[in-house]
C-alpha cells in the first residue's frame, strides 16, 4: 500500500502565547516547533500500515524551508521520502493550501502511480480550519472520513472507525484510493531511534515552490482572548493543607461536611 501523509509545522506553545507587535503572528523567537499532534499520529499510522502490509510511505508539507525539520522527524520514525512545498513563511489559507497539495499529488501520481491512502490530521493545532483534508479529497474525487481513531486496511478497501456523535463508535468501509483524517489516540507515536535520525538526515527532500494564492478566509489580525480568572488563592503548603482543602470541597458540595 502506498501512503501519503500531509503534515503541518506548528509552534510548541507551552504555557502562554505571545504575539508579534503587529498582531499578525505568534512570536516564535523562544519557541520550538513540532508536527501538529493529530498529524504526528497520522505519520505513525502510515509507518505501521507499511510495516504490516508492505508498500511505501511519503510525507508532504506546505511551509517554510525550515519545515524540512518536521519532514526529517517523520522520516526518522520510518517514512520513506519527503516532499516540501516551500513558501516564504506567510500563512496560507485552507483553500489555497488544499489547492497546492492537490497539484503536488497530481504531479506525483502522474509520475509514480496513485497513493492508495492519503492521511491528514483532523485539524491543525494552530489555525484549526477543519477542511484541508476534505477539500483535497473532493478535488481528487476520493471518498473521505474525518476524525478517525482506528484504521484497518483490507483488500482494496480500508475500514475507518470513529467516535459516533451520540457516544459509541461508527465505522465506514472506504474503497481505495481514499483520504482519511485522523485524531490523536489512534496510536501512540514512537520516539525516533538514533540510527533512524541519522538515516533521515542524509535523505534528499523533494522541493518545489508553489505560487502564492488566496482562497479565504483572509487573516486581518490575531488577538488574545480576555482572561476571566485571576491568580490562584494559595490555601496551604504541603500535607498540612489537607483540612483547608477538605473545607473547600465541603463548601463546593462534593464532600459531605
Amino acid at each position: 500500500m502506498n501512503i501519503l501523509v500531509c503534515v503541518k509545522r506548528v509552534p510548541a506553545t507551552g504555557g502562554r502565547i505571545v504575539l508579534t507587535p503587529d498582531g499578525m503572528d505568534i512570536d516564535v523567537r523562544y519557541l520550538g516547533f513540532t508536527i501538529s499532534p493529530h498529524e504526528e499520529c497520522a505519520v505513525e499510522e502510515a509507518v505501521r500500515i507499511v510495516e504490516a502490509h508492505g508498500g511505501t510511505s511519503a510525507v508532504l508539507t506546505l511551509g517554510p524551508a525550515i519545515a524540512e525539520e518536521q519532514l526529517r522527524d517523520a522520516m526518522a520514525i520510518g517514512i520513506d521520502r519527503a516532499i516540501l512545498l516551500e513558501t516564504d513563511g506567510r500563512d496560507w489559507d485552507p483553500v489555497a493550501t488544499a489547492g497546492a497539495i492537490v497539484e503536488s499529488i497530481r504531479a506525483q501520481e502522474a509520475a509514480d502511480g496513485p497513493f492508495d491512502l492519503i492521511l491528514f490530521g483532523n485539524e491543525s493545532a494552530d489555525s484549526g480550519g477543519f477542511q484541508v483534508g476534505i477539500r483535497t479529497a473532493a478535488a481528487l474525487g476520493r471518498p473521505t472520513v474525518t476524525g478517525v481513531k482506528a484504521l484497518a486496511p483490507g483488500d482494496g478497501s480500508v475500514v475507518a472507525r470513529r467516535e459516533a456523535a451520540g457516544g459509541g463508535w461508527e465505522s465506514f468501509e472506504l474503497p481505495l484510493p481514499a483520504v482519511v483524517t485522523v485524531k490523536e489516540g489512534i496510536n501512540l507515536p514512537r520516539y525516533p531511534s538514533v540510527p533512524g535520525r541519522l538515516r533521515a538526515r542524509k535523505k534528499e527532500i523533494e522541493r518545489s515552490t508553489p505560487e502564492w494564492r488566496s482562497g479565504g478566509p483572509e487573516k486581518i489580525v490575531l488577538r488574545l482572548p480576555k482572561e476571566e480568572r485571576t491568580a490562584a488563592q494559595i490555601i496551604g503548603q504541603g500535607p498540612d493543607a489537607a483540612p483547608a482543602v477538605v473545607d473547600l470541597l465541603v463548601k463546593i458540595g462534593v464532600v459531605d461536611g
Binding site: 465505522s171 504541603g238 482543602v245
Partner: protein
Amino acid sequence: MSGSVLVVLMAPGGTIDRPSLEALTLAAALASAHGAPLEALVVADPAAAPSIAAGLGPPAVATALVVDHPTLTLGHPDGWAAVLAQLIEARGPIAVVGSGTERGNDLLARLGARKDLPLAANCIAVEPAGERYRVTRQRWAGSLLEDAWLDAPVKLLTVAPNTVTPADPSALASGAASMETIAPTLSDADLAVHVTSREAPERGGISLADAKVVVGGGRGVGSGEGFGDLEELAGLLGGAVGGSRVVTSAGWRPHADQIGQTGLRIAPDIYIACGISGAIQHIVGCKAAKHILAINTDADAPIMGVADYAVIGDLHAVLPAISAEIRRRGGARA
C-alpha cells in the same frame, strides 16, 4: 443582497443538540442584521425530523426544512453536503451557518469543497461589512482569536461551541414555522460514503466527560503507578481521573483520559490539577470547570494563572493527606 440565512440544525439523538442551538442564536442575529428571513435545515433521522421541525417557529425561524429521501440517513456525510449544495442552488442564501462540532465542521467543509466556497470554522462573532463578513474565529482551540475577512457569494461559517448563548427551544415553539419538505436528487456518489457498522457506548464507571469531580495528573505525577494517589482521591469523591497530553503521550494513561485540545473538554464542579504546569493545550480542556484547585511544587507554574485555589507542595504528600482527612471526617461519596 437577497435571500435568506440558512442554519443547519443537527439532531443526532432525536433532539437538536446544544451547539446547533448556539449556531441558531448567531444565525438569527445575522438574519436580523440583513433584514433577511432565517431558514433552518433539520439534519436528523427521517422518522424524527418532522416533529423536530414542528418545534421550530418565529420569531427566530421563518421556515423549517425537512428532507424526504428514501435512503439518506445521518450516516451519509456527503449526502447531506449534497442536500445543502442543492439548497444553495435553489434558494441562493446569503450565508449557511452550522455548529463548530466535529460533524458540523465536517459537513460545512464538504459543502465548501463541493461549491468551491471558503469556510470560516469555529467563529465566535460575525459582522456584515459591505459585501464581506468580518468574523472572529478561534485558533488553538480558543487560546487565540483571529479576526478575518470572509468574502464569498455564499458565506459558510460554523459557530464555536460554548461561545454563544444557545437559543431556548421552548421560546422557538411559540408559533409554528412554515414547514417545507424538500426532495433532493442524490447520486450514488453522494451516498457512497456511509456508516457500515455501529457499536454502542461501553457502560460502567463514571465517565470523565460527565464527572462532577475530576482529578487530573501531569508530568509531576512521575509515572503510571504514581496515579494511585489520584485514583484514591477520585474514588472517595465519586469522581474520575484524567491527565495532560504529557501523560498520555508517555503511555502512563490511555489517550481516552486526556483532557485538552487533542482530548476531552470537561466542565466538572471542581477540577483538581496535580503536577500539571498548565500548557495552553491542557487549559483549553479544563477551563470550563466551575472551580480549579492546583496542587504543584512550583508556585509560579502557568496553572496558577487559571486556578482559583492552590496548594504548594508535592502531590504525592498532599493527596494522601486529603484522602485521609476525608476518611477521618466520614465525608466520602463512594
